[in-house]
Symmetry: C2
Subunit: 334 residues, 2 copies
């Protein structure tokens, strides 16, 4: 048997075989193995972070990752952006009848490896199978739980006039990698997804200062969307120096060719950090020591609320408003 | 605009409009309204229950409920089956491009009403849109968090020789309601889904005794699958008196007509409870006072581990082994 059948989702014998043979084998830990209706665990702090995302990326395998790696990183990163230490994940699969069991195994192994790297445990799950044509291959939901220490208060609504904006690395690589894979495009410079778990980077940053005001990962809608969300939540203006934004030559070239704006293209392993000037030097140093923050740099600053919105200082010295994207630039990039 | 567009899932302006206009409006609470990457909250106990399910039911509207009500009840019930008090839910939508916004609103309102009834708050979420033909209308994942008091220890692995098995009401109504809706079948007796949040029933039960060994809701695979899971986890035999199992005339008639076995048909508002004989009388009394336990009754008992498995005492006095379902009796019933 090499294909997923409807019976794998029936809750009966085949479902139990799938769970025992693949999921328990890969994700094995004592909480998961109890196989009750809920996973039960104890936490060391009463302040909990909770985040969910469904992943529908197309194609499911791409340069630099796959839907499984993405599903772990995405939720680990959302938890990290609240300053939480990610602890546990639930994983829920919706699989199209006829899906290759080998591909499922490959995805599960990738989830196992990524969870190990991020130090997070998968403790509960669900599998549904729908008829051929009722879903596109496989969709994965992950929902995560983390704990936050009392003295940390990171939120999109905390940006303050005078704060500095740092980006952790080159933008747009994930979205462009997905697009080129999907459309079969070949560029001179191969583009690889930046998909990565950022929890270690964030925990290192929080070791040097608890003064971080905002963290956000640059997923759907990219850098400009994340900045607009924060500008709205905090009711501030954010000035960004366009020439300071790190963009790789591959993404730059591909964007020009395709008429896309890299400032709106998703990353899955980049974040922005907004914090007071006095802590900037120390945080940059610690970020640059981490494998996912090596190219961290300052790209702008927060100004007062009379200018609520995101402003780009262009290379020739002008300023333009960078609004949130309206239409769909790239569907199903995560 | 009356249809969901790909742009509603882009993370840009339309996504934010959808979130603000529909989700925040319906599910409004201070934790959700922060709109950060994770929801942050504090809990009163360190012992946490965590459960996830994706709902792919077809049709999405049916007699007695809809995919939204089901998505709330299903996860509330999974938490309750661990003896937890359900507190918070995440909700994640995968929507097919072109889906009716009116239908989405109807589903959201139903989720709002059910969450209110169950006393649970929706505090974080996600929305993805996939191209027409890449999903069937709408899939919903809910993941829930509850707290468990220290003295409660309910698990499928806790059944003990001598324990009594109670079922909370008539079985098979949900699965049969879905099937008749989907296939356009008309029966003399109309069948309505039993879909309901069981947390109040369970919390009332736990008020009279903390000695409950196992609780399980009878979803995919129905009564016999749930009993087999417990028999395996606890390494015991479970004897059930077939004539004692409450089955409504509608489900009985429809099952005979369609050649289906109601013992394997899913419920979404029924549970089994396994506990020591001495507590049975009191627990039955409190169950029967609750709207979702009115027809609770004893259906069997736990025997020793030499007979690991589920045994049905038939009406004419014989005994047969009731194994877990192998194939798929009814796809997409939840």
């Amino acid at each position: 048997m090499d294909k997923i059948l409807l019976s794998h989702g029936s809750g009966g014998k085949l479902t139990h075989e799938l769970i025992n043979k693949f999921f328990l084998e890969a994700f094995s830990n004592p909480i998961l193995e109890k196989l009750d209706d809920s996973a039960i665990f104890e936490v060391a702090s009463n302040k909990i972070a909770f985040s969910t995302d469904s992943y529908v990326v197309d194609p499911i395998f791409f340069k630099g990752g796959d839907i499984g790696k993405l599903a772990i990183c995405g939720t680990v990163n959302d938890l990290s952006m609240s300053g939480a230490t990610p602890l546990y994940l639930s994983v829920s699969f919706i699989i199209e009848e006829g899906f290759s069991i080998l591909d499922l195994q490959r995805i599960i192994l990738s989830m196992k490896d990524t969870a190990l790297k991020a130090g997070i445990k998968i403790i509960t799950g669900d599998t549904k199978v729908v008829e051929k044509g009722s879903a596109d291959k496989i969709f994965i939901n992950t929902t995560g739980i983390g704990i936050v220490s009392k003295e940390i208060n990171i939120s999109g609504s905390n940006a303050q006039e005078g704060d500095i904006v740092i980006v952790s690395g080159k933008i747009g690589e994930h979205g462009m990698a997905i697009l080129s894979e999907r459309e079969g495009l070949k560029f001179d410079l191969e583009i690889e997804s930046d998909c990565a778990p950022l929890n270690t980077l964030v925990s290192n940053m929080l070791k040097v200062t608890k003064n971080i005001h905002c963290l956000r990962d640059l997923t759907r809608g990219g850098l400009v969307t994340a900045l607009n969300e924060i500008a709205n939540q905090s009711n501030v203006g954010i000035f960004i120096e366009e020439s300071a934004i790190p963009i790789g030559d591959g993404v730059k070239g591909a964007s020009e060719m395709l008429g896309l704006d890299p400032l709106y293209i998703a990353c899955e392993g980049r974040l922005i950090c907004i914090l007071p000037t006095k802590d900037v030097e120390e945080i940059l140093a610690v970020m640059q020591k981490n494998e996912y923050g090596r190219e961290a740099k300052i790209i702008g600053k927060v100004v007062n609320n009379k200018t609520n919105g995101v402003y780009l200082q262009t290379e020739i010295g002008g300023t333009r408003i960078a609004e949130m994207i309206i239409g769909e630039q790239l569907p199903r990039i995560c």
